[in-house]
């Protein structure tokens, strides 16, 4: 049983997945931020591998990626950060990446290095099911979960194939559009989660646009097994770039608030 599988099995309510861009604003600070997320109660850590052309990301995560790249972050550097974080936590660590950094260094290299560093699952944003065969093989060979995306636009036939192929959890994109905080969640979230649940038992983690306790409550009420919060956290990093203690405090307060909403189901 993978760490991710165990985490969902043992969960008493929806899990909280905290996202941060690896290397933002620099490698050392990034490791500290990841530690803060975990200490503050994130159940799963999701780290984004920075990429020069992140077409699925909104402005907040785009800027974080630029900061991380300017600080010299590379895939090898990300794995070094994961090693450091792995020394202090047993919680699952998931990498979220675009395909080109994986392809360029080679899938075998990327997946085996990730596994060796202590990564538990990999999600490649721009690698849909039809292109993901090799990645899924590499994941399997290295004992990693290959996490797949589903979206509101995914039709029933493809959704069934994606649910069938997903391992670890299914990353359900709550709405069309790029990452980033939104005012409201889509109204038909319950129906969307229901469509996935009707096709298999893989845990469903809902992401994109979730930044407030009310969103977390809505996801939990709609049947989500986990919520993923990205831009909300990355935005705090950006706001407190010059003041690490204030950042730590802000992240802790934010996660307490969001976790409180998860438990309040």
């Amino acid at each position: 049983m993978s760490r991710i599988g165990s985490a969902f099995r043992e969960a008493e309510g929806p899990l909280f997945i905290g996202y941060t861009v690896a290397g933002d604003p620099d490698p050392a600070a990034s490791v500290r931020i990841a530690g803060t997320l975990l200490d503050a109660g994130a159940d799963i850590l999701e780290m984004g591998v920075p990429f020069s052309d992140p077409v699925a990301d909104g402005p907040v995560i785009q800027r974080a990626g630029i900061r991380a790249l300017r600080a010299g972050t590379t895939p090898a550097g990300v794995f070094r950060m994961v090693r450091e974080i792995r020394e202090v936590t047993d919680k699952p660590i998931v990498l979220l990446t675009y395909y080109n950094p994986v392809y360029r260094r080679g899938l075998s290299w990327f997946y085996s290095e990730a596994a060796a560093a202590g990564v538990d699952g990999i999600l490649v944003v721009d690698l849909p099911l039809e292109e993901a065969n090799h990645a899924r093989e590499c994941a399997q060979e290295n004992g990693l979960d290959q996490i797949l995306l589903a979206a509101p636009t995914t039709g029933d036939a493809r959704l069934a194939r994606i649910v069938d192929a997903a391992s670890g959890f299914l990353y359900l994109v709550s709405r069309t559009g790029v990452t980033g905080a939104r005012e409201d969640l889509p109204e038909d979230l319950r129906g969307l989660i229901g469509r996935v649940k009707a096709r298999g038992s893989v845990p469903v983690a809902v992401g994109f646009g979730i930044s407030r306790p009310a969103h977390v409550r809505a996801c939990a009420a709609a049947g989500a097994d986990a919520v993923i919060v990205g831009s909300g956290i990355v935005g705090l990093v950006e706001r407190h770039l010059a003041d690490p203690p204030a950042l730590q405090e802000a992240i802790c307060a934010y996660i307490r608030q969001m976790k409180g909403a998860v438990r309040a189901r």
Binding site: V55, G58, Q62, N100, D126, P128, E130, T176, G177
Partner: protein, 402 residues
């Protein structure tokens, strides 16, 4: 595991090992629907007739194949230009935008978005949108907005909204990024009208299909004029739509096909846009192709005096043609392109786009190796009015009559 119907990993999505569909899940169904709509349209005589009527009576096809007596004499071979600069809008781009805008209309889309570099694709999309009554919004990098101001004015005059892109290098690559982000947001009601043979399947196939009219005509015209096929065809390559447009009909023929990339300040400086000459396989904007990137897969900054060639990627079919040896890929510098720009203006009275001037520049470089009776066709993909400001630094003609 692949879908049983309209499998996206089917052979038509691939050119050798290149191509494919590397996009976020949110766009996948839209690409599958687009592929189906395109396939339906291609088999529909009414659609074909509508497109053909637009191309003939509105866009001005066929475009001439112009013999260049003066340039032929000075370079020592028989030079023809395929005059896409004379197509309505001033570049080959309208072949594609009319085709895709008709497709958008048949799909019931009420909003068209596009990216543009030099502005020619933006203008051609604005024209097609105005003609068919569909609102158009065009993403354009801030750098390009400044260096192609004429086309910005034209787009606005044609009723299109020009959205400046301030991210990244503020050029074509970032305009594509922003257009993709827009499409992910409004995929249900929006048609993304991509301007080159790049992007996820079916775009490379679709754009090539609509641009192949260039080569169909050129082949017929050169046979009528010379009674034989040309020895070589040259075209500039940014994304590669004008190149594949003229090359495709000649793929089975014994004709040299030469794609000319943006050499910028020279390949050794790293300041260029020559993906085929100096890049490596990688995935950008939804396709596996050649890409200018660093060893960790971060996309490189590019440079070209020609905004339409200032792009780190290239169409997957061109990557395949290059790798299979069917097409030669070369590059010429900004400087050489500027010289060719004024050379063609002075010798033949034709001001080429700086993009197209790259193909002329390479012809100048290889002319010494060609026989006097060699027939060469250059795809003159666009006209150069938009570039007159950029090139004022180029030495002007020494003729006394100015």
């Amino acid at each position: 595991m692949t879908g049983s119907r309209g499998s996206p990993t089917g052979s038509k999505a691939r050119y050798g090992r290149f191509g494919g569909r590397y996009v976020p899940e949110t766009l996948m169904e839209a690409l599958i629907r687009l592929d189906e709509a395109f396939t339906r349209a291609m088999a529909d005589p009414a659609f074909q007739q509508d497109l053909s009527d637009h191309l003939t009576h509105y866009a001005g096809r066929p475009t001439p194949l112009t013999f260049c007596p003066n340039l032929s004499r000075s370079l020592g071979c028989r030079i023809y230009l395929k005059r896409e600069d004379l197509l309505h809008g001033g570049a080959h781009k309208l072949n594609n935008t009319l085709g895709q805008a008709l497709l958008a209309r048949s799909m019931g889309k009420h909003r068209i978005i596009a990216e543009t570099g030099a502005g020619q694709h933006g203008v051609a999309t604005a024209i097609a949108g105005a003609r068919l009554g569909i609102p158009v919004e065009v993403y354009m990098g801030e750098t390009d907005i400044h260096r192609q101001a004429l086309n910005v004015s034209r787009m606005r005059l044609l009723g299109a909204k020009v959205i400046p892109v301030a991210s990244g290098t503020r050029t074509l690559k970032d305009a594509v990024n922003e257009a993709l982000r827009d499409w992910v947001e409004r995929v249900e009601d929006t048609y993304y009208l991509l301007g080159s043979v790049v992007g996820p399947h079916p775009y490379p196939l679709m754009v090539r299909t609509f641009q192949s009219v260039i080569g169909e005509e050129a082949r017929r015209q050169v046979l009528e004029r010379e009674g034989r096929l040309p020895d070589a065809i040259l075209a500039c390559v940014g994304g590669g739509s004008n190149a594949i447009g003229i090359f495709h009909r000649f793929l089975e023929d014994d004709v040299r096909l030469i794609g000319v990339e943006a050499g910028g300040e020279g390949l050794a400086t790293g300041m260029h846009g020559a993906s085929l000459c100096a890049g490596s396989p990688g995935v950008l904007h939804g396709a596996l192709s050649y890409l200018l990137q660093d060893e960790d897969g971060q996309v490189s900054e590019t440079h070209s005096i020609a905004a339409g060639l200032d792009y780190p990627g290239v169409g997957p079919e061109l990557a395949h043609l290059r790798e299979s040896g069917r097409m030669e890929a070369v590059s010429v510098t900004d400087r050489a392109a500027e010289e060719a720009f004024s050379l063609l203006a002075r010798t033949e009275g034709i001001v080429p786009a700086l993009e197209s001037a790259h193909a002329i520049a390479h012809l100048v470089e290889i002319a010494g190796d060609l026989d006097r009776d060699s027939i060469v066709v250059v795809n003159l993909s666009g006209r150069g009015d938009k570039d007159v400001e950029t090139t004022v630094s180029v030495p002007q003609g020494t003729g006394g009559s100015r």
